[in-house]
């Protein structure tokens, strides 16, 4: 029962990460790509972490996985923000030059 539940979480997690990667490859500009990557991938990572906690079956493992997810969330938030900010700043300065 728990295995089946974990499988469902794992597959849906993979789906979101796949969708995020597709977005990264297919979407037209930096902002759309960041949007796809940060949102979809973090959700996918959460689902995979949930699946692994279910399989791990211990509270300690679950808490560590939660910590990993929170760190990944923090890192991707900040880096996405910085990339978007940099890209915006460059657009503005290029706009001035024209």
């Amino acid at each position: 029962m728990i295995d089946m539940l974990a499988l469902v979480f794992l597959i849906s997690g993979c789906f979101f990460i796949f969708a995020g990667t597709m977005g990264m490859l297919r979407l037209p500009d930096v902002y759309c790509r960041l949007h796809a990557l940060t949102k979809a991938d973090n959700l996918g990572l959460l689902l995979i972490c949930v699946a692994l906690s279910l399989l791990g079956g211990r509270v300690r493992v679950a808490l560590l996985l939660l910590l990993i997810w929170l760190l990944a969330l923090l890192a991707s938030t900040v880096s996405a923000h910085l990339i978007a900010r940099h890209s915006r700043a460059r657009q503005v300065s290029e706009g001035d030059n024209e």
């Binding site: 760190l71 923090l74 890192a75 938030t77 900040v78 923000h81 910085l82 900010r85 940099h86 700043a89």
Partner: protein, 312 residues
């Protein structure tokens, strides 16, 4: 074909593909990005081969710090010689193909020979596992690094020190670009530093502490702390300084000195050189090695002989 084998073959193919992208990549920056991905794939493969020590080291050094060092080197190249930095790679020469074929043949031969060999009794690995209990260590990797092959580790630390001195000799006269993140003063970035820094220090010291019994040790801990140092440099909390300081020099040589003490101390006690002194001595040496590794890698990223506190 079992699912396990499919995953292994897939991982192997990914690794080779990434390596090819690094070697024949059209653009220098692209090659660096692929190298980081290669390091991560390598870490996953080490973990699958049941070598968590190497996986940790490869993720921290191979993917993380080497990536950061190459990125900052690329950024400096952009400052020094923009044309060379943006240049498209030239077409591969015929010699490269020959070398690649020879290298592939060599790897295949070694791999096939290793597969055909029967397991030999009394090889070094088995002897290590048999005598590990006497040392009181739980982690065979730490045992090999510091007890059975301690001399190699001493040389490794010396190589790191020599590499740093070499980089200092090369860069004394050029004004290097100082990598600082645009927007380091943003509240979001400050929060990241405030969360990551204590966590990184804690995990680093934890890795050092458990290193004698579980995966971890001075190299992993040191590179993790160096990662925190790079973050501090990027956010302007630490700044590169031109004037060398006694404390910084001391931390640079601490690791090599500690290992030298470990080699020579048994003589004072009437034993042969490099005799095993117990777990406490290893923890002492590993702690100093961690500090040396962290300082050396951070200073390599900074490109200056010393560090100072910056804006907070």
């Amino acid at each position: 074909m079992s699912a396990q084998l499919v995953i292994d073959v897939l991982l192997g193919l990914i690794l080779v593909g990434l390596a090819a992208q690094v070697a024949i990549g059209q653009h220098l920056f692209r090659a660096i990005v692929f190298y980081v991905a290669f390091g991560l794939a390598m870490a996953v493969i080490w973990a699958r081969l049941g070598a968590p020590d190497l996986a940790l080291a490869d993720a921290a050094i191979g993917a993380g710090l080497t990536g950061a060092l190459m990125m900052v080197a690329f950024r400096r190249l952009v400052e020094i010689d923009p044309k060379q930095a943006q240049a498209q790679a030239t077409r591969g020469s015929a010699l490269a193909v020959v070398i690649a074929v020879l290298a592939a043949g060599m790897v295949a031969t070694i791999g096939l020979t290793a597969l055909m060999l029967e397991e030999q009794p009394g090889v070094a690995g088995l002897q290590v596992m048999a005598t590990l209990e006497e040392t009181g260590l739980g982690n065979p990797v730490t045992g090999v690094l510091l007890v059975f092959r301690g001399f190699d580790t001493l040389i490794e630390m010396t190589v790191l020190l020599t590499a740093f001195i070499g980089s200092r000799v090369m860069t004394t006269h050029s004004r290097l670009y100082v990598a600082t993140l645009a927007g380091f003063q943003l509240p979001l970035v400050r929060t990241l530093v405030a969360v990551i820094l204590p966590l990184a220090s804690m995990v680093g010291i934890h890795l050092l502490w458990i290193g004698s019994d579980q995966p971890g040790g001075a190299f992993q801990a040191g590179s993790l702390l160096a990662g925190a140092g790079v973050l501090l440099l990027l956010t302007g909390t630490l700044l590169p300084a031109s004037k060398s300081r006694a404390l910084v020099r001391l931390t640079l040589v601490a690791g090599v000195s500690a290992l030298c003490v470990l080699v020579l101390a048994p003589i004072l006690r009437g034993q042969v050189a490099m005799a095993y002194l117990g777990r406490g001595s290893l923890l002492f040496a590993e702690a100093l090695m961690m500090i040396s590794i962290a300082t050396t890698l951070t200073l390599l990223f900074a490109g200056r002989p010393s560090l100072k506190w910056g804006r907070t």
